[in-house]
């Protein structure tokens, strides 16, 4: 059986786990290509106006997969713990896609810890739907989970290696689906690297640790995916020279979170880049370049004081 995975949103978080689990259960995995102009345009056509650019891009990827696989995997995720939640998009997407693309077939799993629907229960149902025994599913789930953990540890240690470099260090605070998207974050990251800046990614440090650390900045934030990335600010505070918030227009949770952080954080230069499908590169480059000028000058001054 061929399972399609849209290269958007949660793909960037769970791709290792999904591929491992599905292939273990004898499925073939088809992933849509990097986001390009055509995927973006299609996504926009299949979305309502108010949808954020990241979710619009997701729709474009789903559309690309139709006809190229038997089922498209879209999880329905509601919470990872009591008292936390995620953006409604993540529990609506499966249903949105079913009604937007009636010709396609989808498979789903539900995660909602607040209502005792754990990740294992979710994967058990997924395995059942794919015709695997519970025993086989359990083994595949544990292997997949383990592979993801190993992969995350490698990314963490790669990022930690950068801590001692002499270059300017900028922390990108954004969701992985924005940071690594070919049309959203990638051009920005590439531009920063061309300016000789070491880029730290908020999504890389350990998730549970980051959720705990997010409490330093806000005790009442309840969006799980925002807690994960906000924690990285306290985590890297002492080594970074600046923070770039990267958000897609019009993301609800991010617009509130970033506004809160801009007011609360003191002493670290910050800037907020809001991107959508119409963002021109020229304006972005001007903003990034002048931001890097600011932190470079600040660092130079700081070094002079110390030296």
């Amino acid at each position: 059986m061929k399972i399609g995975i849209p290269k958007a949103l949660l793909y960037y978080k769970y791709r290792i786990m999904w591929r491992s689990f599905l292939e273990d259960l004898n499925c073939e995995v088809v992933v849509s290509p990097n986001t390009n102009k055509a995927i973006m345009d299609t996504g926009e056509n299949y979305s309502i106006d108010e949808s954020c650019t990241s979710a619009k891009i997701f729709m474009g990827h789903v559309s690309w997969l139709i006809g190229k696989c038997d089922y498209i995997l879209i999880p329905r995720i509601e919470s990872y713990a009591n008292g936390d939640t995620v953006c409604t998009k993540f529990y609506a997407l499966y249903d949105i896609c079913r009604s937007t693309f009636p010709e396609a077939k989808f498979i789903c799993y539900n995660v909602d810890y607040a209502h005792h629907q754990t990740e294992w229960k979710a994967y058990k149902q997924l395995g059942e739907a794919l015709g695997a025994s519970v025993f086989h599913t359990r083994r595949a789930y544990l292997n997949a989970k383990n592979e993801l953990t190993v992969y995350e540890k490698i990314l963490q240690s790669n990022q930690d290696d950068l801590i001692h470099s002499d270059n300017l260090k900028v922390l990108i605070v954004s969701h992985p689906y924005n940071i690594y998207d070919e049309m959203l974050g990638t051009p920005i990251i590439r531009f920063l690297k061309d300016l000789n800046v070491d880029v730290f990614f908020a999504d890389i440090p350990d998730s549970a640790d980051m959720c705990a650390k997010s409490k330093h900045l806000s005790r009442s934030m309840y969006w799980h995916y925002n807690k994960e990335i906000v924690g990285s600010i306290s985590h890297y505070e002492s080594i970074i020279d600046g923070i770039i918030f990267l958000t897609t227009f019009p993301c609800g949770p991010d617009s509130l979170t970033v506004e809160l952080l801009l007011r609360k954080i003191k002493g670290i230069p910050m800037t907020n880049l809001v991107v959508d499908s119409n963002t021109g590169e020229a304006g972005l480059h001007t903003r990034i370049e002048s931001f890097i000028d600011i932190i470079a000058e600040k660092k130079k001054r700081g070094d002079e004081y110390v030296g």
Partner: protein, 314 residues
């Protein structure tokens, strides 16, 4: 004498200065871009050459800034290509060394730059909306049957400025029509517009920024004394408007070109060389990047706009 050339190519106007090694202005020019940056720069170069003609001046380095900085940087063979925020800050500091806040309101954009101990610590630009910029003043002047140059003086006459909703240009406009219809005096309305520009600017671009004196106000709107007075009233401190305020970007990038330490004699005859740009759409993948090639005669000087290597040879 060694000199340095700075060119600031905005969407509306193109500015050029030649400075000596103490950042004193030897020649300057300001003219409309008219949608053709290359031609505008040639005219600027021509005017600057005439101003320094016969003097013992050799331009040793060139800097470009403004939205066409990359294109013109290639055309002029610039040593320094810098964003306009840094350029404006450097230029202003060469005139007012202890400046802490720079307000800038241009034809369609506005920005604020905050400095501390001679370095930029924060900045903001207007993003989505041109409310409260020069084009808003222009259209309101027209509506009231006034020339844009008259607005400032007229606003100063007002004893009792009309309150005009400043949040959004569209609402400000309908509010203004309403106030005129119920009998507010013209000078009060004009003063109200100036106040609206200021509160709009401070609420949007200046939101959350700590505004400290000395304050320098630049951009086309700084020529409007009514707006200057409104800024002084709101901030409670003097607002300094430089006679060369419109040249700060060009001045700053000339200083940066000098600081780059790279020197090469600049040839003013470049104004007679033919430069052509060609836009092509790369067909090699679904992104359809629009790639710009800059030609000097038959030779390609530079190309950009491609998102990946495949576009390089397109």
């Amino acid at each position: 004498m060694k000199a340095y050339l700075g060119v600031d190519i905005g969407s509306i106007s193109t500015k050029g200065v030649v400075v000596d090694d103490k950042a004193q202005i030897l020649a300057h020019e300001y003219l409309w871009t008219e949608g053709n940056p290359i031609h505008a720069v040639k005219r600027v170069i021509d005017a600057l050459q005439k101003q320094i003609d016969g003097k013992d001046i050799q331009v040793k380095a060139v800097g470009t800034t403004g939205s066409a900085r990359k294109l013109i940087g290639v055309v002029l063979g610039a040593q320094t290509v810098k964003n306009e925020i840094t350029a404006h800050a450097i230029g202003t500091m060469s005139r007012v060394p202890d400046v802490r806040t720079i307000f800038e309101i241009g034809g369609q954009d506005s920005k604020i730059i905050i400095l501390e101990d001679g370095i930029v610590t924060d900045y903001a630009m207007n993003t989505l909306c041109a409310a409260g910029t020069g084009s808003f003043l222009m259209s309101q002047a027209k509506r009231l049957g006034l020339a844009i140059e008259e607005l400032g003086e007229m606003a100063l006459k007002s004893q009792n400025p009309t309150r005009i909703a400043a949040r959004c240009t569209v609402f400000a406009e309908s509010d203004l029509v309403h106030k005129a219809q119920i009998g507010h005096k013209k000078e009060d309305i004009v003063a109200g517009i100036c106040n609206a520009v200021v509160s709009n600017y401070l609420n949007n671009v200046g939101k959350g920024k700590r505004i400290a004196a000395p304050i320098v106000f630049q951009g086309g709107v700084s020529k409007n004394v009514g707006v200057v007075r409104a800024f002084e009233q709101v901030t409670g401190s003097d607002v300094y408007v430089d006679e060369f305020g419109h040249l700060m970007g060009a001045l700053g990038v000339a200083v940066l070109a000098k600081q780059s330490g790279k020197e090469q004699n600049f040839d003013f005859n470049i104004q007679h060389v033919e430069f052509i740009t060609k836009g092509t759409e790369c067909k090699k993948c679904a992104n359809n990047c629009e790639i710009i090639h800059v030609y000097r005669g038959e030779d390609v000087l530079d190309s950009w706009g491609n998102r990946c290597e495949r576009g390089v040879s397109a």
